[in-house]
Amino acid sequence: MTRPVHPSPAVLAIRGAALVLAVVALAHTLWNGVVEPGHALAFGVLVTVGELARWGALPGEREPAPLGAAGALAYALLGRSGGQDTAHGVLQVVTVVVAAQLLASVPHVARGSGPGADQAARRVLAVAFAALCFQPLHHSGRSERWFGEGPYFALFLLVLLVLTSLCDVVLAAATAGTSRPFGPRLRDELRALSGIGPAVGATGAVMALGVAVVGLWALPVLCVPLLLTQVSFRRYAAVRTTYRQTIASLARSTEIAGYTPHGHARRVADLATAVGRELGLPGPELTVLEYAALMHDIGQLSLVDPVADGATTALPAAEQRRIALLGGAVVRLTGVDPAVAAVVEQQADPYRDQQTSARIVRAVNAYDDLCGEGVKGSLRALEQLRLGTGHDYQPQVVEALARVLARGGLTRAGTG
């Protein structure tokens, strides 16, 4: 999570709102005292423990404290406990969540790595939203009149959770970096929702319902499956990281073998991903594109003597195709998505026979090769590509490349 140096007004507004809400809630609770302290304590402990699980979170993890989130949501949606109605209000929910977050952040702050202010603000606002939707209806008795205490009530809670997660998505999009317009950021956040989000929401709803039926004993029982989910996600993220590292090492092997210039694979991968974004490719295809771009030169290992500067662009077409096919065969062995191998195999074909990713890899690779020849600068290389748009390179891809280069900024590859 890199925070922009100057937070945008939207970010400042969200942080401010969360702060004001937290202060008001704390003051209100201090003045009036805590209703049902047993429940407040139990949920407070749950959220604190859940937030402490941020320890060892990997950078960029979508929801580093799922248990904390689920516990907070459950408290916001709690209307009964062991068959008795509860009486806590919105402000007490906010108080408990804020207090738990403050408590849980002590060890983090002591270590010098506090949880991001944005994440804390998001959590407070989302929980307040859920509580605001539910608690007034519950206290006025309307929810019971409308939905009863049966299946419709469970459905009502689920709908509330969907609304809350949408609210959270909007907040996340507003606080996520300022370099891109709001629309695409919102789209990215909506896509990212499919991970651990539903598990958190479902656990929140089930905790609220479970406590309503059996009392506070439901909390520890329901924590266990969610903790298991969190562990699975962590392990998955870890193995994904080493996998990327290994792919990158494989890609670097041609550089160490002296077939391609230093950093070529990484440069092509970054530039190709940027062009892919520019052309609006969705997340999974961007990942395929990145891997294919990283490994596009693997086939050159079969050459007995390296081509000068690894610039296969100068070779005869048949030879280029042979190298591409051999590269595809190696890539198939790596166990990555077969689509990656297909892109690598196609990279020497004329653009009309290629899929979009292969077109991008081909154009970007040629661009990097041409730039590397020293005399030619970026503009001359682009000129050369434009001359080849009749047969080799797709004009739209070359124009997208030109636009990306004109902006001068390469955005980092996606995390998919």
């Binding site: 039926v213 494989l250 062995l333």
Partner: protein, 462 residues
């Protein structure tokens, strides 16, 4: 059901009959079987199994086939034994099977899950579980925390029965030795089953409460996602191992000479590590170190690698750079850690006359000392185009002779012990990958290479 041994056939038949007998009481007139609940649960299990069948998502099977246990445990809590037996049957009969014979596997799985669910349900009833669930009908609240006791007992029985049946089929159908069939089955699964049982308990409680079956379904969602992520994890883990192999295959493109060598060195290193009593994670790292030890040959010009005849001093110096190239290639792979040192130092000698740094004695990392012995051992025993391989005892004798000057005597002793115990067959080790080896097709300009095929004849490429 062709291709199955008589014992396995009898075993499957016997299990299916037992399951059928257990289910019979449900159909007797006075049984009061809750068909509604039973039907809903069976349908749910069927739905959970279906994605595995579907070609569309076949690549990303959400859950290991037949492993959706929270649902079965919830059924065991909610239903009497004769009805619980039936819940898993439809799902298991249509579920996905990895290998033929499909019919026999489906029948076996249905019988196995049915018997397990029946046993769990019987245990739960025996421990007095059903009354602790409470429910709208009786107007009682669930009796927590006492409700947890029968649940834990049930999970234990569930684990034991499942493991017993698993082991039995391994013995009869796969001909696994009696002593090995049950090893680790229970200890590995009892923890997960306990978690599944807790989820099943909450599901059963909510099912009985006024909120009804819908709310119970929501309990399943985190478990389902967790299983899905876990399956993804395993797929990615396998993919990662393949990628490591692909690094080695990339070396093979340049130097087909050493095909299979890397894998065998990995195995020999693992043998030594096991003999030295290393812990599991280090053993795996050491295996990777063995597999990757020559990855630096990528950096050596192909002309030098493939040269016939003696090398000039200049060429020898170039080849001796390969440990450093290898270290450079794997530098970015975080988890390798100690293995990187092994790749850098596997040509050091104990007396300090090796390369690249001329380290001596204990200054050579432990992993490197292991890989050096494994490397030399396999180089001596494997057959090269210009000479036959030496027999294993002769190679061990040669290693013993060089122990102290070139190799660490401790590693040599460990290898000799391991070989005495497990033996070494180079032929069996030429096909080493546990996923089945896919050979790299030799290239032809006009033919698209097949995705996979039998491994090429070892030998020198053009």
């Amino acid at each position: 059901m062709r291709g199955i041994s008589g014992a396995a056939r009898a075993h499957i038949l016997c299990a299916a009959l037992c399951a059928a007998v257990c289910a019979l009481p449900a159909f007797s007139p006075g049984a009061h079987t809750p068909w509604g609940t039973l039907g809903l649960l069976a349908a749910l299990h069927l739905i959970c199994e279906l994605p595995g069948r579907c070609r569309l998502v076949g690549g990303s099977v959400p859950v290991g086939a037949g492993s959706f246990f929270p649902l079965l445990l919830a059924a065991a809590f909610l239903l009497p034994p004769s009805a619980a037996v039936l819940v898993a049957v439809p799902g298991a009969l249509v579920g996905r099977v990895e290998r033929p014979p499909a019919a026999a596997r489906r029948i076996w799985r249905a019988a196995q899950l049915a018997l397990t669910a029946g046993a769990a349900s019987w245990t739960y009833g025996f421990l007095g579980g059903p009354v602790t669930l409470g429910g709208v009908a009786g107007g009682t609240l669930p009796d927590f925390p006492y409700a947890l006791v029968p649940v834990c007992g049930t999970a234990l029985v569930f684990s034991l029965v499942l493991a017993a049946l698993d082991g039995a089929i391994l013995v009869t159908a796969e001909r696994v030795a009696l002593g090995r069939a049950w090893r680790g089955l229970v200890s590995r699964s009892v923890g997960p089953h306990l978690v599944h049982a807790l989820a099943g308990l909450m599901m059963a409680v909510l099912w009985r409460s006024s909120y009804g079956p819908l709310s119970a379904l929501v309990v399943l969602l985190p478990m389902y996602i967790s299983c899905w992520v876990f399956a993804q994890y395993h797929r990615r883990h396998a993919a990662h191992r393949n990628t490591i192999r692909a690094l080695v295959q990339a070396v093979d493109i340049k130097d087909g000479y050493t095909r299979g060598h890397s894998e065998r060195v990995g195995r020999a290193s693992e043998l030594i590590a096991r003999e030295l009593g290393m812990e599991e994670s280090r053993m795996e790292a050491l295996r990777f170190a063995g597999i990757l030890h020559d990855v630096g040959k990528l950096g050596v010009p192909t002309r030098v690698l493939r040269k016939d005849g003696p090398l000039t001093p200049e060429e020898r110096r170039v080849i001796e750079l390969h440990p450093e190239y290898g270290h450079e290639i794997v530098r970015g792979i975080g988890f390798l850690d100690e293995a990187r040192a092994a790749i850098l130092h596997h040509h050091e000698r104990l007396d300090g006359s090796g390369y690249p740094y001329g380290l001596a004695g204990d200054r050579i990392p432990e992993f490197a000392r292991v890989v050096a012995v494994a490397d030399a051992f396999d180089a001596m025993t494997s057959t090269r185009s210009y000479r036959p391989g030496r027999p294993v005892p002769a190679a061990v004798e040669e290693l013993r002779r060089c122990a102290g000057s070139q190799f660490d005597p401790r590693m040599v002793r460990a290898l000799a012990c391991a070989l005495d115990r497990h033996g070494w067959s180079a032929a069996a080790n030429t096909v080493t990958s546990d996923e089945g080896r896919t050979g790299l097709p030799r290239q032809r300009a006009d033919v698209r290479p097949p995705a996979s095929g039998p491994a090429d004849r070892p030998g020198r490429p053009r």
